[in-house]
Symmetry: D3
């Protein structure tokens, strides 16, 4: 399968409502390097994604099974920085805030507009989050 198909597949699969998609490099018989594509989706989307993989890729077979999943509850807030407001995803485990992640696409825009390294933007926002939420984060 042409490597260009993967890029197209990632986009299409996410547009169709998959929860996640990733690839792993594998090695098959007869010295064939290949890629295993994994899609995580809701159970009622299963048939749709099996069909999509059979039609869009070179495979003749798709395997699937059911996983259990433990997810953090998510909440999206805006935090105020001197670069403007930035969306932050908060993650709660057993009703306790344990994680906060700034939205990548917004940080990227700032980095590009201001000419500041992206890592630094992440760092600054993490510090603001740390300051504002520290009671929850450290308890």
């Amino acid at each position: 399968m042409s490597s260009e198909v993967y890029s197209y597949l990632y986009e299409k699969v996410l547009e169709e409502g998959a929860l996640d998609i990733y690839t792993e490099s594998i090695y098959m018989k007869k010295n064939r390097p290949s890629n295993k594509i994994s899609i995580l989706c809701n159970e009622n989307d299963l048939e749709k994604f099996v069909e999509l993989l059979l039609i869009e890729t070179s495979t003749f077979g798709v395997r699937y099974h059911k996983y259990n999943r433990e997810r953090l509850k998510r909440k999206f807030i805006k935090i105020n920085t001197h670069y403007g407001d930035i969306t932050v995803k908060l993650g709660y485990y057993k009703n306790k805030l344990i994680k906060a992640t700034p939205e990548y696409e917004e940080c990227k825009k700032i980095a590009k507009n201001k000419g500041i390294p992206l890592n630094q933007i992440f760092n600054i926002i993490n510090c603001i989050i740390n300051e504002e939420y520290k009671i929850n984060l450290l308890t």
Copy 2:
């Protein structure tokens, strides 16, 4: 485990009737790069392959579980090219032809005998298939 054992294992596992075998590189504790071997087999061959892995590889344990699988129905035909007849595997999804793949080993022989790049042989055969089956493939 010596890397030479993998080649032997691939051959042996396929001769014993496995549906597929592949490896993935993994990283274990104590900086040990290693390989995870996955075998896909019918349920009644399970014990045979568990035993084979325990005996032939350096592992002390084998994990397994059941997968569901959706496979294209397969049909093998011969198509006529000016290099001679070539076997083509057709794949049907819900009774509709959606995929056609020439047999690698036969194409390889032609490429070697005629001194033509293998990619080009694939291309030519794909065009003949496309021409002959286009009504099904594009509907």
Copy 3:
């Protein structure tokens, strides 16, 4: 380094004129999985990219050296299909046409608009190319 930085880096590096960029997963001391980033650039862009990597990534050092390179001469043509005109990149080795590749982004648009698998678009265009250029391709 956050995995989100890679996506940003790929874009930035290509906008700045790199010829290519790719990553490989590597394993470092103390069980640290990491990624090696490789940039291919013209010699007079070297300092710019060394600086970019030092500033944008978490590394404290960048290695570089000179490679020789053999490249196909490239020519871009339009071919006419019943989906519209599509750009095709032709590759010449010692003045002989040996390779032809349709432009991915244009094929992707067609696949999305017409609801046809991308692999099939590639296939159809390859057949047209094969038909039109076969004298060159097979000599």
Copy 4:
């Protein structure tokens, strides 16, 4: 997630009683290279390790499911070499001895103290094992 966290995680997860831990490099949407962490644990430790992954890593979700496992029965013996006693792990399948592996950490100490390549220590011990247990190993 910083690559330095993996090393810490490996140690912590094994101290907490996991049976195994390994990582695989994966590729996610938006050109993000990342790592999938897999932990093998007893069923009654499940909640502990799900919590550990949610708290210690950058992930917002953990997937899990039940595997069957076939393990060799293990017995540890001491074998006598002219470098001193070395522990060897024996593996039994259906009550038959099929595998013997010297303990890595003890061999490593000898290699370092005596200035002998580690591979050679392994080799010598394997030969002693082979000699002493050959009836079982070859039947």
Copy 5:
């Protein structure tokens, strides 16, 4: 080569004064998954490491060549946190401070003693660094 040898090799190579060591998974002829070991060392240590690889690993040949390298100038400082003093590595590019990284082993000890996630320790220290050095880091 046994995967256990890698761990030993990493330790030995670093003790002998290598600047860095890492492995990459590669795939060789005859379906053999293997690992490429790369060592970065000063030129006058070359012979020592070539010999070490030939003696300690299963390889029959070692390739090497000269790289240029651009490195940040490094300075180590202590910063004061309410967990105690922590060493921070500062990186200067053209005499400007552009990077600061806390020492992993010290953070790990704190994380273990205080029962706080390692990621959080990193975060807090980064915020202190950010606060104290911001004039340099942002100019």
Copy 6:
């Protein structure tokens, strides 16, 4: 590029006299997983292999440069086992024997004919070698 081309390429490249060939999985822009092919050859074969890669694969460019190499001197001997004679490759560094490896293909034949695990054949032969050459190997 179809994964089936790799197998063909490995064979062809080795038949044409390359010293080695291997692939590594890499990740390119636009979420394209791909493979980097590396060929090790003598300098006077360079043009032949550059041409082969340009013609047989989908690439539009090939990079190359010169490596230094330190190789063990090799000698092939026959050792006598109760399974018959087996070829063993000996490796000498500075005129000292430091390595001995049985030929894989011969061991594989024995393993298949006698129904003995391949790992065990390797082990037995290593012990014979160890016994016969121990003076050299351990000095």
